[in-house]
């Protein structure tokens, strides 16, 4: 059977290569000013369309000797030219930037380049979408897309189609990020002014991506101007950032360096807010016509110090990436990367006596260190067939929880994640297209380790095992077929897809609070199996130059989903694996969105209807219950109106159902002062009686944001603009959490309302 399938695949593959007799047009698309390649530009030749790949390359074809080529990219003037083709042709196309406008229109998050599995955004679309605090933020922009939920203002978590926040693979220049936020979620980790492209996959996930089960957010950084020096300065309510770029050797090598720091901790000194800063630096060198070397570094730090009690919390995220892109032939691309990644959080407190409370010193830290080697080879076999294959080795060193008290430390753990993949992107006919891929993954627990085995009741470790030899002491594997079939008819696309994904690492965090900076990552082990996800989706896309309509339905089944038991102790608990149970989760839903992209009046509206349920024995009296991020309905609308070419106003309204919580529904009175004294007349404490897990819903969430921006007249060497906005303009009181008291009034804590923002941007060129 396997032989027959292999024979069939090979036949299709060889036939598609040999049968192709049209003239090929290949090329590269670059920015005319900076010389940077443009990723995801649309290349159209007659009825054939293609997107430039990660190296700005494309390949398409034509039957006739005379043809029209059209290349469009957000923020750039559309390139149109008639070509005479006698044989295979290779061209270099330089697109001219169109500053802020395209055809007199301010473009919002533009998904015109979407197919039904990949949403792409440029830096321009991100920076123009209004978000909280008025500062552009890629994660916040993603939260405005259909099917992506968040559970509170300021939160930087992405809950994608029934997946938890740890189930998203988030890349910055191929380095995996374990935390998406600064300042507990108010600011996301990536400086939006440095992004070249953003790709987001949530239904069909190409087989080159693995290790997370719900979605992929692949962010690529700018490379730096290869022709002239330029700079930028932005200051806003949340942050200040400054960037410089320029050629090291003109047209050969360039650099980019940018730094960002938080402002709120200076403006609101009394609130003891955390400070943050990050630095991104990148150098790229064209070694020769076919080889380019990229070196980039991402360094970020969050620091919170509470002076009164001498406590502190530090979060660090450092990544170093070396990437070699090689194109030995115009249609062959080899990308090889070496990455070192270090994510660490540390909480500490000095031993002090204050107000008759005694604080003992403690130190608690957790983190993940990754060492990655990976390669991908992409062959543009012909305009109708692209083949990609490759593999990766990732060595994870996990520190789930190191405490100053040894008995409270969780044993460290090392995991080796090996994978290989192959994927073919093929047009069987002009209308029928398929993406077929397969990924094979191995998860190995390796190195010296201590692990515990548990009895059937999970109540206690029955044995402790020490692995001293340092070899492979536990392994899992996963074979992940992925397929997407598309039918193209004019401006419409119909598609169905199936994706299997797996995930070894899980994030554990205190999810009872709206904001928490305490989290730890743990690997699969003999006690916890990796998660496996089967995702089926079907969708319809209609896209013209002025509107896009997208409708998609999905069903997702996750095996080995975990949830915490009652009274689970997550921190300082060496037996942390006994604190949760595994079962399954299922999610299904329907999403629809409408986008208007041209004219003075633009916007996007979306609606999603979904359900996420856990089925985990041992957690509740009933087997099925709502996931904590089960938000059945959400409706989002963003509108923008250009009053004059320089002045733009926008509004965004967001509505979502309340999220499920476990909350107090009653209580009993307990007296600490009475023990054997019999004195029950003293003050008593309320011991809450809780609802069933996640059986109560918070009130629905909604808010209106207003923003406006003004672009000053551009000068010869600089341009500048100012923007202002109000977050939650009608002051909706969206509850974050409730403080239920017995002998005092109960309180509800709200998230932000009437939150103003002001920012100024300066660009020097």
């Amino acid at each position: 059977m396997v032989k027959k399938i292999l024979f069939l695949v090979c036949t299709i593959f060889i036939t598609s290569i040999c049968a192709y007799s049209q003239s090929k047009i290949s090329g590269i698309v670059k920015d005319s000013i900076s010389g940077e390649v443009l990723v995801g530009a649309i290349v159209s030749v007659g009825e054939n369309h293609d997107l430039t790949n990660n190296y700005g390359r494309f390949i398409t074809s034509t039957n006739s000797t005379n043809c029209n080529i059209e290349i469009s990219y957000l923020g750039y003037e559309t390139y149109k030219k008639s070509l005479t083709i006698n044989s295979d042709t290779s061209i270099v196309i330089l697109l001219r930037t169109n500053a802020v406008k395209i055809d007199g229109v301010t473009v919002k998050a533009d998904f015109t380049k979407n197919s039904l599995n990949c949403k792409q955004m440029s830096m321009q679309s991100i920076t123009q979408t209004p978000t909280s605090f008025g500062e552009p933020d890629v994660i916040k922009v993603m939260q405005l897309q259909p099917g992506i939920k968040n559970i509170g203002d300021g939160s930087s978590g992405l809950f994608v189609r029934g997946g938890n926040t740890d189930q998203n693979l988030i890349y910055i220049d191929e380095a995996s990020m374990y935390s998406t936020s600064h300042m507990y979620g108010f600011v996301s980790i990536c400086n939006p002014f440095l992004l070249k492209s953003v790709k987001f996959y949530n239904s069909y996930i190409p087989s080159e991506y693995g290790g997370r089960i719900s979605s992929v957010l692949d962010m690529q950084l700018k490379e730096g101007n290869k022709k002239t020096y330029a700079g930028s300065f932005n200051i806003g309510t949340l942050s200040t950032n400054i960037g410089v770029e320029g050629p090291i050797i003109k047209d050969k090598a360039s650099f980019f360096v940018a730094a960002r720091g938080g402002n709120l901790n200076y403006i609101l000194k009394d609130l003891d807010l955390p400070s943050f800063n990050d630095v991104i630096a990148k150098v790229n060198v064209d070694l020769n016509k076919n080889n380019t070397l990229f070196l980039s570094a991402y360094l970020s730090q969050d620091k919170e110090i509470k002076k009164e009690i001498n406590s502190g919390h530090i979060q660090k995220n450092n990544s170093f990436i070396a990437r070699w892109a090689c194109s030995p032939k115009p249609n062959i691309f080899i990308n090889t990367s070496l990455i070192a990644n270090n994510y660490k959080t540390k909480s500490s407190q000095d031993s002090i006596l204050s107000n008759k409370d005694v604080y003992k010193s403690y130190n608690w830290s957790s983190g993940v260190q990754d060492y990655v080697a990976k390669t991908k080879i992409e062959l543009l076999l012909n305009p109708k067939n692209r083949l990609a294959f490759g593999g990766s080795f990732i060595y994870h060193q996990l520190t789930p929880g190191e405490s100053s008290k040894e008995s409270m430390s969780i044993p460290n753990s090392d995991v080796l994640e090996n994978s290989i993949f192959i994927e073919d992107n093929i047009y069987f006919t002009n209308k029928f297209k398929a993406q077929i891929g397969i990924r094979y993954m191995e998860y190995w627990n390796v190195g010296k380790a201590v692990w515990y085995s548990y009895d059937n009741n999970y109540t206690a470790a029955t044995a402790t095992k020490n692995v001293e030899d340092g070899g492979i002491w536990n392994r899992y594997n996963s074979l992940e077929p992925r397929v997407k079939l598309s039918y193209l008819q004019g401006k419409s696309e119909y598609a169905i897809s199936y994706t299997r994904t797996s995930q070894s690492l899980r994030k554990l965090s205190n999810n009872t609070l709206a904001y928490s900076n305490i989290e730890t990552w743990v690997p699969a082990s003999p006690n916890i199996k990796p998660m496996f996800c089967d995702n089926i989706s079907a969708g319809y896309l209609f896209s013209t130059n002025s509107i896009t309509i997208l409708a998609e339905a999905y069903y997702k089944h996750i095996k080995n989903q975990i949830d915490f038991i009652d009274h689970a102790k997550l921190f300082g608990n060496p037996h942390i694996e006994s604190q949760f149970r595994a079962g399954s989760a299922q999610a299904y839903g329907f999403e629809i969105s409408l986008q208007k992209k041209s004219g003075k009046f633009t916007g996007q509206a979306s609606y999603s209807l979904s359900k996420v349920e856990y089925n985990i024995p041992g957690i509740t009296n009933v087997n099925k219950y709502s996931a904590p991020y089960d938000i059945p309905q959400d409706f989002k609308i963003q509108l923008s109106y250009e009053i004059i070419p320089q002045l733009n106003v926008g509004v965004a309204w967001v509505y979502s159902s309340g999220r499920p919580v476990t909350t107090e529904i009653g209580g009993t009175l307990y007296s600490y002062s009475a023990l054997n004294s019999g004195d029950f007349t003293q003050k008593k404490d309320l011991v809450p009686i809780y609802s069933e897990r996640n059986s109560v819903r918070l009130p629905s969430y909604h808010r209106l944001d207003i923003s406006c921006s003004y672009d000053f007249k551009a000068q010869k060497h600089f341009s500048h603009s100012v923007s202002a906005g109000i977050f939650n303009a009608y002051g909706r009181e969206n509850p974050m959490y409730y403080d239920v008291n017995l002998d005092e009034p109960s309180f509800v804590h709200y998230s932000f309302k009437y939150l103003p923002s002001l920012s100024y941007k300066l660009k020097i060129f």
């Binding site: 008995s407 019999g678 609802s691 239920v740």
Partner: protein, 303 residues
């Protein structure tokens, strides 16, 4: 000047926007519409010391309500072959008036529990029967050394005082120490008046603290000991069973450390009362020792 004004206005707005909370009526709390099943809540301890023993009965209640008074219940405790009747304190002749209250049941006579025996509480209330059992674990001897010595509080210059109470984890055994002492209350016609006070220290074998910030220390309500200088301090060590230890930790999670950064998953406190009852009936072996305040202070300083 203008830019300063903008910063000030922005700061005021931001400050007002960031931290908002307001009083809320119970009926507006999500989950208010879910009603709890009204049931018996037990808080009672039988000790090995011959004395009047106390069991407090009340009920669970919905948000915005108060517990019912549990009067006219039939309360008995069985220790081995012996059955002891408890009567409501308001009807008891030997209980001081200031301790009397409805729902508090007191043994008819002074009784004591027995080490190694299962102690069973039975309550018949409004036609329903509730039972709860706990085994009395033998208490080990102790001295005022090591972790049993309270901490020193040094608040005003070099003036030191002992701080009683506290919760310590990862101990070799689980137990409670109840501290009793006299503090200076005031002066009346009869002269100097001292008032008896007490506090508790909890020691758990549990390896991890629910609240990492109070890794090994964390203090309950009565923080300042403030004993009179010539006072004797009485320490009573009480043994606790593993089930009672879990109950106490879960109760602390639900009351003292609720909604903190390191809080465990919120959940109902596990009870040993049958028939969906709540609370815990415990049996504790006790041993008491006395030490002069100044001597205890000296040991604490040396620690």
């Amino acid at each position: 000047m203008k830019s300063n004004l903008i910063i000030v206005i922005l700061s005021v707005f931001l400050f007002c926007s960031c931290d908002m909370y307001s009083n809320i009526d119970e009926e507006n709390i999500p989950g208010y519409e879910q009603k709890v099943e009204k049931t018996l809540f037990v808080q009672g301890v039988i000790t090995s010391k011959l004395e009047y023993q106390f069991i407090n009965l009340s009920t669970s209640f919905d948000l915005g309500e108060l517990p019912d008074t549990v009067s006219n219940a039939v309360v008995k405790v069985t220790v081995g072959d012996s059955v002891y009747n408890f009567i409501e304190s308001t009807l008891h002749n030997n209980i001081p008036e200031n301790l009397q209250k409805s729902g508090l049941y007191v043994s008819e006579n002074k009784i004591s529990g027995k080490v190694g025996c299962v102690h069973t509480l039975s309550v018949c209330y409004k036609g329903e029967n509730f039972f709860a059992s706990d085994s009395m674990v033998s208490v080990s001897d102790f001295n005022f050394e090591g972790n049993v010595i309270p901490n020193i509080f040094n608040s005003m210059g070099n003036m030191k005082e002992l701080v009683f109470g506290g919760i310590r984890f990862a101990q070799e055994e689980s137990f409670i120490i109840e501290w009793e002492w006299f503090t200076f209350w005031g002066v009346d016609e009869s002269g100097v008046v001292n008032k008896q006070k007490n506090a508790k220290s909890y020691y758990f074998t549990d390896y991890t603290s629910p609240n990492i910030a109070s890794d090994s220390e964390g203090y309950l309500s009565e923080k300042a000991a403030d004993p009179t200088i010539d006072s004797m301090v009485t320490a009573t060590k009480m043994s606790i069973s593993e089930e009672y230890s879990n109950y106490l930790i879960q109760t602390m999670n639900a009351t003292l450390w609720n909604n903190s950064l390191f809080s465990p998953t919120p959940a109902n406190v596990v009870s040993n009362v049958s028939n969906n009852g709540l609370g815990f009936f415990a049996a504790c072996d006790v041993v008491s020792k006395e030490i002069p305040y100044l001597q205890l202070l000296d040991k604490a300083i040396k620690k």
